[in-house]
């Protein structure tokens, strides 16, 4: 991470620290006059998925451009972090968040916000049907499972009944059809159309 900066320092007679300070100011939107005031610190809206690579140090090449080197690259600050831990520390740190135009202080919540958030979570919990492990939850889930099974059996029963009914109907129809045909043959007419004379 220090490599290129040190080289630059040799050229301009600036120390590495000077350069770092200068770059920080260049990235600071307040210092650049792009904002009037830093905003409160806000949470990240994305999930950092580091778990898979956590704690694994990766080799960082020296002569490659920063964004092509191995490790964790921060595009905001144009720097490379050796491992996931230092990357996390970096994106949680003052300079990174200052570059994003934020202070390190969060907004003070109000009682109303807190009440609303509790209410929202309650609704979410009810929708999710609560996967709590405690007896209440289990009881309810067992009940639901039983009810579902009952419903399934009921359906099976009705389906069977319907099938039986249909079969009986079919049998009866066949029988009546057969009877009709015989009758018609006996009575000498071959269809309904011929009854009108």
């Amino acid at each position: 991470m220090q490599g290129p900066e040190e080289k630059e320092a040799e050229k301009d007679g600036e120390t590495a620290l000077d350069i770092r300070k200068r770059k920080r100011l260049e990235r600071d939107p307040l210092h650049q006059g792009l904002i009037v005031q830093r905003s409160h610190l806000k949470g990240r809206e994305y999930q950092i998925d580091l778990a898979a690579r956590l704690g694994k140090t990766q080799v960082v090449g020296v002569n490659m451009p920063l964004n092509q080197q191995a490790g964790y690259y921060c595009s905001v600050c144009d720097c490379i972090l050796r491992d996931s831990q230092s990357y996390l520390d970096h994106i949680n740190g003052k300079w990174h968040n200052r570059a994003l135009g934020m202070t390190m202080r969060v907004e003070k919540s109000t009682v109303d916000q807190v009440r609303k958030r509790l209410e929202e979570n309650k609704k979410k919990k009810e929708e999710k049907n609560d996967d709590d492990y405690l007896p209440d939850g289990i009881d309810r889930r067992i009940l639901e499972a039983e009810q579902a099974e009952e419903r399934a059996q009921e359906e099976k029963r009705t389906r069977k009944l319907e099938k039986k009914q249909k079969e009986r109907q079919q049998r009866e129809e066949e029988e009546t059809e057969g009877a009709d045909a015989d009758m018609m043959a006996v009575m000498g007419f071959g269809g309904f159309g011929t009854t009108k004379k």
Partner: protein
């Protein structure tokens, strides 16, 4: 930085509130992934989203003394210092046990003795089951009222030295606190009262017979 106490936070018991969590535990918390990923930039409002997902209360556990998520959130609360009304809201909520416990434990750490009794004692009527992570790293079933009792009567809980508060008895003596009436006491009193009126009626009946 991300671990610094809010600039406008009041000192608690004469010190930076985060110091209530012992140095070693505090630094262990700062090193956890949970702290770095999930606790970053939390407010008293967004902290609720994390608290509703808690599966246990507890301090540190295992050979490495790993801090529980519960303890991480307590430290976060000490860092951002929510208003008292917000803590009361945490405690009053009935839907999320661990939100309630966070509020109660926080109140125990930073509240004035009278407030501590005032807001924690009603939780003696909350018998819901909860899980506590033990030092050995095993889940233990406990209950909200049990934990509240520990908060009020123990010196240490979850690796934290609880600030000293006068005993309830001392506060009753000086008249700062009324005698606590528990639901059980009330039921007991009623039963006694019924029994007494019963015997009184019997005695009255007997007396009438004798006349």
């Amino acid at each position: 930085m991300a671990n610094r106490t809010d600039k406008e936070a009041y000192t608690i018991h004469g010190t930076n509130p985060q110091n209530l969590v012992e140095y070693i535990v505090r630094n262990k918390i700062y090193q956890t992934v949970y702290w770095k990923e999930s606790c970053f930039a939390l407010t008293a409002e967004t902290l609720i989203d994390k608290a509703v997902d808690l599966k246990a209360a507890g301090g540190t556990y295992g050979g490495q003394d790993k801090p529980t998520n519960f303890m991480c959130l307590i430290l976060k609360m000490l860092q951002i210092q929510p208003d008292k009304e917000i803590i009361i809201e945490y405690i009053r909520n009935e839907d999320f046990k661990y939100v309630r416990l966070l509020g109660a434990f926080y109140m125990r750490l930073v509240g004035r003795p009278l407030e501590v009794y005032q807001y924690l004692e009603p939780l003696y009527n909350d018998y819901r089951k909860i899980r506590v992570m033990t030092k050995e790293g095993k889940y233990m079933v406990s209950h909200v009222d049990e934990l509240v009792d520990a908060m009020l009567n123990k010196d240490h809980l979850f690796d934290i030295a609880l600030p000293r508060i006068p005993t309830r008895y001392a506060l009753e003596k000086t008249g700062q606190l009324d005698k606590r009436v528990s639901v059980l006491d009330e039921e007991f009193d009623e039963a006694m009262l019924e029994q007494e009126t019963g015997t009184a009626a019997e005695r009255a009946a007997q007396a009438r017979r004798h006349c």
